[in-house]
């Protein structure tokens, strides 16, 4: 039995979600309006895109950007456009990721390449009917790239000294390269026979870890002109927490409740993702358990019954427990990094709440 209490979303997350919603809506509605003036009226596809972005999510990255700024003594409005930019940036990565993973659901609705697979979803003047899979995929990739361009525009509009905005741009360009590389590795991984455990974990880290915590926090700190000590403390908090967040994601992707996560649990098992949970289980399982795991992992046609059988094994051999303990250990390490004068007490308290929430969340 698993006794850890599930915390509700911390105040800083809820308050940024409330503040960003109308701002993102306004920005996207302007884009939708501009779509009707194009040589082809793309209003329907821009509406799909806006709906995808506004469908929600935790708004974690934007909130962290504001907290990073607060940690460096900056005002909220200095980091607000960049925080919106990071949410658009995140949506861009999700759209491309969904396409590459051929996922059909995200945040409780269709992924963008699925939504764009009908002609009437693309342009006002298009006939009603289905679109070739390759075309829908291409349009989704391009829609993601549009989000990325809009994200950059937001970040560049930060109302602080040009030197700081420029440094922010450089940081984002570097992060863009790193997260893309993580995604390349993720797509390439299934082509490698017997991928070593360390390589698999490192790839997971590159894919989400650094851009989820370190980028938003240090971007906010940079916009505030924070001290080196503050930057260092935020990084020391972000690195283990990024890993812990990834493990929590894996737990949800394996044992999660579709009603809460908005995407089918067990997808990770069907895709044969080399998560910490699976890697640990493969290491400690023997006999029939090991055979069942080997036969089932990566089998896209797994029934719900078969999935549950795999989950049973993962629980029985202690892989779920192992992953939860590892996430808690990393979370404690992150919290420890906040014990410094370089981060104001109120900010540290919010970051502690975010750490616990990130690791114990149900979605």
């Amino acid at each position: 039995v698993h006794l850890t209490r599930t915390p509700s979303a911390p105040d800083s997350l809820l308050s940024f979600a409330r503040a960003s919603e109308p701002a993102l809506r306004k920005l996207l509605e302007e884009k939708v309006r501009s779509a009707s003036a194009l040589p082809i009226d793309l209003t329907p596809s821009f509406e799909r895109l806006a709906e995808y972005v506004l469908r929600g999510g935790k708004r974690l990255r934007g909130a962290l950007c504001l907290l990073g700024c607060a940690a460096g003594g900056g005002a909220e409005q200095d980091a607000f456009p960049a925080a919106l930019g990071l949410e658009l940036f995140h949506a861009y990565l999700l759209v491309h990721d969904d396409f590459m993973d051929r996922d059909t659901e995200r945040r409780g609705g269709p992924t963008l390449h699925v939504a764009l697979a009908r002609k009437e979803s693309i342009a006002r003047s298009a006939a009603v009917g289905a679109v070739a899979e390759h075309t829908a995929g291409s349009l989704a990739v391009l829609s993601g790239s549009l989000l990325q361009a809009w994200a950059l525009e937001q970040i560049f509009s930060s109302p602080v000294a040009p030197e700081r905005v420029l440094a922010a741009g450089k940081m984002v360009a570097r992060a863009l390269g790193e997260v893309t590389l993580g995604q390349v590795l993720d797509v390439a991984a299934p082509l490698i026979p017997e991928l070593p455990r360390d390589a698999a974990l490192k790839i997971e880290e590159m894919k989400t870890g650094s851009y989820t915590f370190e980028l938003p926090l240090t971007l906010g700190a940079l916009l505030a002109g924070a001290s080196l000590e503050t930057h260092a403390a935020l990084s020391a908090y972000a690195l283990p927490l990024g890993q812990a967040f990834q493990i929590a994601d894996d737990l949800l992707g394996t044992f999660g409740d579709i009603g809460q996560t908005g995407k089918s649990a067990g997808n990770d098992l069907r895709e044969g993702k080399k998560t910490l949970i699976v890697l640990h289980a493969l290491q400690v399982s023997r006999g029939a358990d090991l055979e069942t795991l080997r036969a089932g992992l990566g089998n896209e046609g797994l029934s719900e019954d078969k999935l549950e059988q795999l989950r049973e094994i993962l629980r029985r051999v202690g892989a779920e427990r192992f992953a939860r303990d590892e996430a808690e250990r990393l979370c404690a390490e992150a919290e420890k990094a906040l014990e410094t004068n370089a981060i104001p007490g109120a900010v540290a308290e919010e970051l502690r709440a975010i750490a616990r929430y990130s690791v114990r969340r149900q979605k």
Copy 2:
């Protein structure tokens, strides 16, 4: 008979191509070296990517960036990193475009999604064999996004005042949005029944026109801190020339020589692209000619004989002549915009040579 002399590449193009080659090679070789230290050794795929970028091209955009900088009185080294960045940026767009158009050849070699369709082209530790089409496509899209991130890093490293670099970043982000939108329209266009002629031409313009001439020239001018007059003159030159360049591209895609262009001529006809040539021909053709055109355009299985039959009609009804005349008219308009004190004489002379070359080139 077509009597216009084909000019050889202008000095400014040749000299930038010579200077940029070792710089791009060094940058890409560093990326290749870094690939061996990744959790999966991606050396082979980075080599494919480097080879794709170094395979050549006119290096027009980089050369224009240096000329824009010179027009504003700046030094060459101020714009050189941005010029390299624009070449990487262009390569990024080509990689994505190749994937979306399912093209197999570019600059006389395989497109990236074709090159990455073998496991041994991706990672050192991968088994030899074929890769699923979707996976190869995903890896090509991601490789393109890597080029884009590296492009931004180059542009942000421009050795001029931060205010100017920041303004350059904003300009590039806006251009990124515009060119992506052009590409969305290009992919969506075949879904629209009876696309109006003006819409088709506007899409062609959005897709290549502005980022080929206006972006590089004004980016260079911006890095040099050029006057408003210089910016205006460069834009007045760039806009008609962008359209003329696109028409020249269409002529090559319809009547070009594969030995020179590096990609199969007639592709535009097989894809049913609504170029100025085709739109004009559909307007002026009658009877059997019109029927043959309607039946042949957009037919992917067209034989070489059938292609030649279509080209015959396009020539006979005057569509080729019409397009060449239109390109020449736009070229003259561009040259006229250079008759101003806002652009130094030597720079104007180079820009004139580039205008003629862009319109009359054979590749």
